[in-house]
Amino acid sequence: MAANLSDVRQLVRNQKYSAGFITDIEAEKVPPGLSEDVIRLISAKKLEPEWLLEFRLKAYRRWLTMTEPKWAHVQFPPIDYQSISYYSQPKSHLDGPKSLDEVDPKLLETYKKLGIPLKEQEMLAGVQNVAVDVVFDSVSVATTFKKKLAEAGVIFCPLSEAVRERPDLVQKYLGSVVPFADNFYAALNTAVFTEGSFVYIPKGVRCPMELSTYFRINERNTGQFERTLIIAEEGAYVSYLEGCTAPQRDENQLHAAVVELVALDDAQIKYSTVQNWYPGDEEGRGGIYNFVTKRGDCRGARSKISWTQVETGSAITWKYPSCILRGDDSVGEFYSVALTNHRQQADTGTKMIHVGKNTKSTIVSKGISAGRGQQSYRGLVRVLEGADNARNYTQCDSLLIGDQCGAHTFPYTEVRNPSARLEHEATTSKIAEDQLYYCRARGISEEEAVSMIVNGFCKEVFKELPMEFAVEAQKLLQVSLEGAVG
């Protein structure tokens, strides 16, 4: 019952604002800078309950005492947190380009290669007024989807709406996986988050379709400080897709999102991401800093959380989707493809924390570096004292294209239970000149040969993605690697 991506595309094209999905953002903009007053203002504008304001302030006060993590293998100039506006009207209508003529031609070229229709191109590029001038389709796909979800008892809405409608659930789970002071960026997010998704799957329900952020198109400017909370009750199942294969134009340089997943007994959450934010130009100018905290809590016995990510965008990626395997017999998985080209830097990996007995984790990380890209895999496998018979399998492979890029691997293991079994495999390979020549001598162009070799390298991860996403991801890698060789 997976929602067909082309249906979703159709929806995106035909219709921009569907009543049920609009968030109550007002046309005001808070001046740059962060203070308790700003946080009070954000909270007031969103008509938040007192406990949520207190939660934000607590995080803010702690954030003031924290420093940015320095251990990641990335380099960037200092960020001035007082120069950011923490609450603003989506910038689209006022600041966006007036037509596609004003959009970077390179971006448009990429859209064409990915086969993205014109209206959608305009939306992605943030062209003024596109969102409202598109004819409203009376038979709304979104409404159909929403009805189906409601029948199943699934809640899928903006987090701010959930705060109003289901404060009990939000209060119970928000910050229960990623504590407010977990790390510098998570604390900042907790203090100032304004947008994000909320998903609740009731006991025993298998979500009747794949939930995609495509549905929530009113948030055309991805929140700078997004907050996502997904809860799967006992025996529930949900597959959630985040992102878009098209590079999105975005005014915000710093993105610090937090994603929390909770799986109770026998529940399963599958979370897939395709991240393709603006990576900056060939010399590394511009581009998004993506500092995100993603964590899943396998709170119940026999629960399972699976992260699959394809990361090709952003100038800097700092991201470690993790699993806390608290329930006995719970399972955590991490499948990742990360690509760095030109001057991109990525420090990404995962953490698998084995708490319960007979817990299992699998890590498959594929890193591709081209141009002058720098990439690090950083992964932690921790087995606590009570985690009898914990098993982990880690495979981390790097593929280098050209001789100016870099790949680094930082695996950490902490084992406090002697019955644990950990396996680690790592390889580094290079697309060799003779491999390309061999393909060319069979009639295959160099670019196609590179893409064939890269897809072969990523196969194990792509097969974890929902079908339509996998096809798009392949195409995306091909486009992202253009000009990487030769």
Partner: protein
């Protein structure tokens, strides 16, 4: 079909081919023999268009087209096939993926459509029989974990599938036992036809017992020093190359 005139080529700044001329007509099989370092493999790679092999003088035309101005992939699509002396391994990319991409590249080059999945598999199975390769092996990575003999048979299989018009086989016979040699020869003979031509680069007479050449050339010091019929190969087997090199 193939017309090589006064070809000079360098590798890493060193001149290897020094004025080589050769004409190959459709329907003919030419064997190129010669001592190590005489430039046999260089000739094969120059024809296929390998980077780093620079042509400094002379010309090569294929069906009247200037072959040297074409990219390696365009030469392949025009119908030139090089069977590698050392076939390359490409882990993660299955033989089937490579073959399908190669077939479709040719079709695209000629303005055609992609091959149907069913037709593709039927064609592969049919051809695999000739060289006695288990089609299951083709789901594995390109040449990944193949023995030396399997790699050579795989080269011939690719050739049978792609049906080139000019087949250049660079020491395809080296390192083969007698059974494998027969299989490889069968593959070459299968494609032998009045429309196609073959250039066999080889060290030994052995292969020529199974694939009868029309012409035999001896390459020494970067040029052809002697040409003749099949009897020349037998003469070389007896006398070696010394008498020609000294000449």
């Amino acid at each position: 079909m193939l017309n090589i005139k006064d070809l000079h080529a360098t590798v890493d700044g060193k001149e290897i081919l020094k004025g080589l001329s050769l004409t190959v007509n459709a329907g003919e099989v030419h064997a190129i023999m010669g001592p190590n370092g005489s430039g046999k493999s260089t000739l094969a790679h120059v024809l296929a268009g390998r980077e780093g092999y620079s042509v400094t003088a002379g010309s090569v035309s294929f069906d009247g087209k200037d072959l040297l101005t074409l990219e390696p992939e365009a030469r392949a699509c025009e119908g030139v096939f090089l069977g590698f002396q050392y076939p390359v391994e490409i882990p993660g990319v299955s033989n089937l993926t490579l073959l399908k991409a190669a077939i479709n590249a040719r079709r695209k080059y000629r303005g055609g459509t992609e091959i149907e999945a069913g037709d593709f598999l039927a064609w592969i199975r049919d051809r695999a029989k000739i060289v006695k390769i288990d089609p299951k092996m083709l789901s594995r990575g390109v040449n990944e974990g193949f023995s030396g003999g399997e790699k050579k048979r795989n080269e011939i299989l690719q050739m049978l599938i792609l049906e080139p018009r000019l087949m250049i086989l660079d020491e395809t016979d080296s390192g083969l036992d007698i059974d494998a040699l027969k299989v490889v020869s069968d593959g070459i003979n299968t494609l032998r036809s009045p429309e196609r031509a073959t250039v066999l680069v080889t060290h030994y007479q052995r292969l020529l017992d199974y694939v009868q050449p029309d012409f035999v050339h001896v390459l020494a010091r970067g040029r052809i020093v002697k040409s003749g019929g099949p009897e020349l190969a037998r003469e070389l087997e007896e006398k070696g190359y010394g008498w020609l090199e000294a000449a």
